[in-house]
Amino acid sequence: MTKPLSEAVESLKPSGIRKFFDLVSEMKDAISLGVGEPDFDTPWHIRDEGIFALEKGKTFYTSNAGLKELREEICNYLKRRQNVSYNPNKEVLVTVGGSEAIDIGLRALVNPGDEVIIPQPSYVSYEPCAVLAGAKPVIIDLKAENEFRLTADELKAAITDKTKVLILPFPNNPTGAIMERKDLEDIAKIIKENDIYVMSDEIYAELTYKNEHVSIASLDGMKERTILINGFSKAYAMTGWRLGYACAPENIIKQMTKIHQFAIMCAPTTSQYAAVEALKNGDDDVKMMKTAYNQRRRFLINAFKEMNLECFEPFGAFYVFPCIKEFGMTSEEFATRFLEEEKIAVVPGNAFGESGEGFVRISYAYSIDSLKIALKRLKNFVDRLRKS
């Protein structure tokens, strides 16, 4: 065949993480701090419920929007934890991970030429999904001095008359940044004034270590313009089950459901039954994992302090994002040398957008014992660089 493939797809850059992945894969005995998923197994009672669903022969499609019982539990959960009320019959769509919700949410919202504002550093799929939806990504470079929060001024400066959607990725991967109520109120005002939509990716909502997470959808006048995305991967350690959801006004969910129905049909049935159990009886598991993450977070921040490595204290997700500018290397050079010399894999910050340059992402979805070894080697590496 000689006919060209899709230009839009060919124009996408491969994920920056991929490049580094290939490098790490060649290194046999490397310790990785590069993983973006929990180290915990899915709690047993949730797995058991999945097994039980299989045993009972619940192996058919569910309705396109997802099991009714699951949608109801999602609404109960959001009311209980985030103080937002959704109608389970019209305003909820169960998706294949939060990732699908990002993709189809953007496709449901934008027309060619519409602008999608994406604060970076952030998760790698927003920009390509916006491009594939025909939108023009407009990047906001978040700043370390603001603890990588999105400020009203930054947002104001990025808005044009073509702006359609703001993607709000907090608690943030890779920086660990959070947006507190006051931060959200500041930007909500501008969002309303300019009549734009918000896609709020709250997949790490359960993992905050300061105040409880506030959803922007819970603020006055915001629910009607917000697609709230969440899922089971991070809170319940269920990444491999591929299950997430989107909540939004009826007219948006209706359009998203069309795409979902044609592209996916429905999210995996076994996973949906397991997820019902997670939402009904999983609060204690979430609490246990969150406590463990918080201990590791304190451990890392303390270790950075001791080795004088610049890092703002992150209060969300399970990442820290130390600054490595003092060593006069790019993030990739730093990560590559660290891997070659100390056999520890961290992810170069620029994989999450240009504004991540000068930083590396370290995940603490690892046991304290692994973190101890890794941190000792980081100290060796940093000491050596400072001497040379």
Partner: protein, 160 residues
């Protein structure tokens, strides 16, 4: 801090004060004071090590003995429990609801020793009505820890 501290040292009693303090987000003095308090209040009763004896060359036989007793006036089960737990070979004594009263864990070198403990010492106590002895064949999990299972990290090395 108390609950979190207890959960941490229940899993790892060797954790140093410095590390405890960092993980709990307090300073070392605070952590040390809390530990002392917990010991004084009798909440922390000891710092033990979980050993899988099966892997050593040391022979040990463990039995669980269900004991039915007659409670004594004014003292309930406490007096008879004490009579039993005073034997050093008795590792634990629990008061149990249901079909019997006391659950006794006994550790000896041989089956014979267990048999003689039950027939000579335990059954002959005045308030003991009957006993049922069960031998432990294999320990799979103890104190929340699964023996003999190494957990491999099966995650991809780098994921976004």
């Amino acid at each position: 801090m108390r609950d979190e501290l207890l959960a941490l040292i229940e899993k790892n009693s060797r954790m140093g004060l410095d590390e405890l303090a960092v993980l709990l987000g307090v300073n070392e003095t605070e952590a040390a004071e809390e530990l002392v308090k917990l010991e004084q209040e009798g909440i922390i009763c000891g710092y033990h090590t979980l050993i899988n004896w099966d892997k050593t060359s040391i022979e040990k036989v463990t039995a669980l003995i269900e004991v039915k007793v007659t409670p004594q006036r004014g003292q309930g089960f406490d007096r008879i429990a004490e009579r039993i737990y005073n034997y050093p070979e008795v590792k634990s004594v629990y008061l149990i609801s249901g079909g019997y009263d006391l659950l006794v864990t006994l550790e000896e070198k041989t089956l014979k020793e267990i048999a003689s403990f039950v027939s000579d010492k335990l059954s002959t106590l005045d308030s003991v009505l009957s006993t049922a002895t069960h031998f432990i064949l294999k320990k799979y999990k103890d104190h929340g820890t699964v023996f003999d299972k190494k957990r491999e990290d099966e995650r991809e090395i780098i994921t976004p």
